[in-house]
């Protein structure tokens, strides 16, 4: 599953960057953005595995959130917290990529990491990946 491998690689990279010290602001923005997209690809994997075909347009992000709710949260297979984590991660990504006038803080990256783990760990469990 390339989505899982990608997500793991992004996570390892994020941790490795912090081991070198507090990253510079452009790197912080990239970390938040990559964490969102890593989680987003895992969400699409989950939905494809459920037999769904994602739309090929910009509505795909909203579609993924809606379908996660319908197929996984409402059926008790995913927590509200996990789905909310993906949504909040997207909000942080928007801010990191579009609001250059607002400083991307270390806490934004830490929060993005926490949200990523909340979402990814549940997907991991649902997918039964080892």
């Amino acid at each position: 599953m390339q989505e899982i491998e990608f997500a793991r690689a992004v996570w390892r990279l994020t941790e490795a960057i912090f081991e070198l010290g507090v990253p510079s602001e452009p790197i912080r923005r990239m970390m938040v953005s990559r964490l969102y997209y890593a989680a987003y690809h895992v969400a699409l994997l989950l939905l494809r595995n459920a037999g769904l075909t994602p739309p090929i347009d910009r509505s795909i992000h909203q579609w993924a959130l809606n379908e996660l709710r319908r197929r996984f949260v409402n059926t008790g297979r995913m927590s509200w917290a996990a789905r909310n984590a993906l949504r909040e991660l997207r909000r942080l990504r928007n801010q990191a990529d579009y609001r250059l006038d607002l400083r991307a803080r270390e806490r934004d990256v830490r929060r993005a990491m926490h949200l990523f783990r909340t979402f990814f760990d549940e997907c991991h469990r649902i997918l039964g990946v080892t």
């Binding site: 992000h61 909310n84 997207r90 909000r91 928007n94 579009y98 609001r99 803080r105």
Partner: protein
């Protein structure tokens, strides 16, 4: 009835302000609107005094209500004690302070 496109942003902001006051009440210090950037109607951030234990449930109710009104939004939050010193000094320029209306005392 279809909403007038020109009023859409004003409508969603008004509804958001009402809902965040209702859900977060005394936890709420400020709101910052921005966007929309992609397909959402608006983005916003909340500044909270502290994070309530049931943050996710409260957030979900806001999303639910906005979704029923036909709006797609994204929001996140910051908590006062996590702010850096420069943000604490200038928080009112980064978030719009929220005035929570207290019930008016009855006059005789």
């Amino acid at each position: 009835m279809p909403r007038k496109k020109t009023n859409r942003k004003a409508d969603v902001k008004k509804l958001v302000e009402r809902l965040v006051k209702k859900e977060f009440g005394d936890y709420l210090l400020g709101v910052r609107f921005d966007g929309p950037y992609e397909e959402e109607d608006i983005d916003f951030d909340l500044l909270l005094k502290e994070e309530p234990n049931d943050y996710v449930e409260r957030a979900e109710r806001i999303y639910e209500r906005l979704g029923k009104a036909g709006f797609y939004v994204l929001f996140s939050h910051d908590v006062w004690y996590e702010l850096e010193e420069d943000e604490k000094q200038n928080w009112q320029s980064l978030w719009t302070p929220v005035n929570l209306e207290k019930p008016k005392a009855k006059t005789r």
